[in-house]
Amino acid sequence: MNPETSKMLQRRVSELGSLPVMPSILQSLGTCLSASPGDMNIDRIVELISYDKSLAAQCLRVANSAMFTRRTEVESIRQAVLALGIQRVRDIVYSCSLPKLFSGAQNGMAHATFWRHALGTALVSQNLAQRLKVADIEKLYLAGLLCDIGILVNSLLYPEEFKRVLAQAEASETPLCEVEQEILGFTHCESGRVLADIWKLPPDISEAIEFHHHPIGHQEGLEMTCVVYLADLLCRLRGLGYGYYEAREFDLAAEAPWEVLKKKHPDTAAGLDMARFTIELDQYGVEVQKMVDSIFSNGSGPH
């Protein structure tokens, strides 16, 4: 990042007090949920979830929702965790806790729109990584989920200016980044990085946040960044975007990140039917919609 931009953003953060703090429960749960299946400590996960009343309620609610047909009602957190499966518990933990941190960000992108895109990108990142046999799939979920977190940071730090960014992007059907650069002088990639540093996220995830719109030229988490780049793009193209029409045509195969992944995983990349993968994404739309609806419905959501 340009040192000037970094200084300016940090100054702004200190002027305004601070940015949201990563809740400690999320850190401990995140570690537990990312453990390999053999090391998974279900008791600890159940314990951590039980500490947080709204999280516990959310788990029970989803476990008893129409998404899962079962004969008996799920009553304990343990039952809920077992019924939902670790992956879905993780989805609920993040999607229930993170939006709360940013409920103060008004006048920005609609929260439901933002989290639909974030959850979609997380799921697609993970799925694409699975297909290509990229390592560290668990981390990819988090990288996808957080890659656009700078959008929320922007609406906290520069509410008026960011409102103009959104209006102009929507009116001109242009990608958000381009308009951010024009009006703010930086993009959500950079402001997201500032938050990632405050939160002390793992370096590769922080890099994915900073570089997910232009992933070439740095090395550490390049593969992860490329996967997130493509997942973000695919979501924007399949109705899980920023809530407006982006009048663009994409040839994914000609995008540099795809080249990077193809070089590293030639066999799996050659076998990936991208057209079919794209159609398959539509089922995430339904799943993500259900998840977001349940987070933002009947007052138990983040507001």
Binding site: L237, G239, E249, F250, D251, I279, G285, V286
Partner: protein, 302 residues
């Protein structure tokens, strides 16, 4: 992926139907034969349509029906019946909004900006397998609405072909039931149709750019003459061809397009494993295929 918030109900397909592993096998069989892919959120459609055929045959389980489609003597006939069931009755004006948006917001403006186009000022479209004409007339209306006012002197030319004579009669007649025009606002309907009783007849201004013709896509000689198109549409037609015929047909489409031209299949069809000269391109909500301009072949297209 639809952005609306309504979750589609299963509409008669049971949960047991949707969870039946044989349905997955059926999905993959249809995909390998026709290129039509049902994502999980479309399983209820697949189940319903298969059930309709199964009822006819007295087949009770998807596993049994799968066997009829793969192992029995008349499997080809039944596969054709199933594909008919899958693609039937789905045509109406302004169907497939994402593709329509891509054409009007992205592709038409791009064609108009091509340097070689300035001298001719003409956009040429081929609707291959035009059925009863809704797609062609939709494109004509789209051009009149979106392009003609902004780009004066530009002309549209649509060649709409089908093998079926009855369909072509309907195309030329241009008379449609209320169902077909339900996606149009009353203003648009009045602007481009004349009401005749309960039906709507297309006006001459929409008709003028379209030439309807009978063409067999397997007629190798005639196909050679289909040239110079900016856009080719061929929805739910290739599914009836074997893989050699598919490849041959798509190759004709490729050769028929000018460099920089686009090709669209049906919403759920793909070209994967059929033909690899095109580039798959993504538009918001839809995918299409692109024939690169000279010099774009090796490098990245931006």
């Amino acid at each position: 992926m639809s952005t609306n918030t309504v979750v589609v109900p299963n509409q008669g397909a049971t949960d047991a139907d949707l969870a039946d592993p044989a349905l997955l096998k059926l999905r993959d069989l249809i995909y390998s034969i026709s290129g039509i892919f049902h994502a999980e959120n479309k399983f209820y459609l697949l189940a319903l349509r298969s059930r309709r055929r199964m009822k006819e045959l007295g087949s009770n389980t998807f596993a049994d029906y799968f066997e009829r489609l793969t192992a029995r003597a008349n499997r080809d006939v039944e596969m054709r019946n199933l594909l008919n069931e899958i693609t039937i009755g789905e045509t109406y004006f302004f169907r497939g909004q994402p593709t329509i948006d891509a054409v009007s917001k992205i592709i038409f403006p791009k064609i108009v900006a091509l340097p070689g186009k300035q001298a001719v000022k003409r956009v040429r479209v081929w609707s291959a397998g035009c059925s009863t004409g809704e797609e062609s007339y939709t494109l004509s209306i789209l051009f009149l609405e979106q392009i003609a006012p902004k780009f004066k002197d530009w002309k549209l030319e649509i060649v709409a072909t089908d093998l079926n004579d009855d369909s072509l009669v309907k195309c030329r007649e241009g008379l449609y039931a209320e169902y077909s025009v339900r996606n149009l606002s009353p203003q648009m309907r009045d602007k481009y149709f004349t009401q005749e009783g309960k039906s709507y007849r297309i006006k001459d201004v929409v008709r003028a750019p379209i030439k309807f013709d009978r063409l067999n896509l397997q007629d190798q000689t005639k196909m050679l003459f289909m040239k110079g198109f900016d856009l080719v549409f061929c929805a739910n037609v290739l599914i009836y061809f074997d893989s050699a015929a598919k490849k041959r047909t798509v190759e004709h489409f490729y050769n028929g397009l000018v460099p920089g031209g686009h090709f669209f299949l049906g919403e759920c069809e793909t070209l994967f494993g059929i033909y690899d000269q095109f580039r798959l391109v993504h538009f918001p909500g839809s995918t299409g295929y692109y024939k690169p301009l000279p010099g774009e072949d090796a490098g990245g297209k931006k």
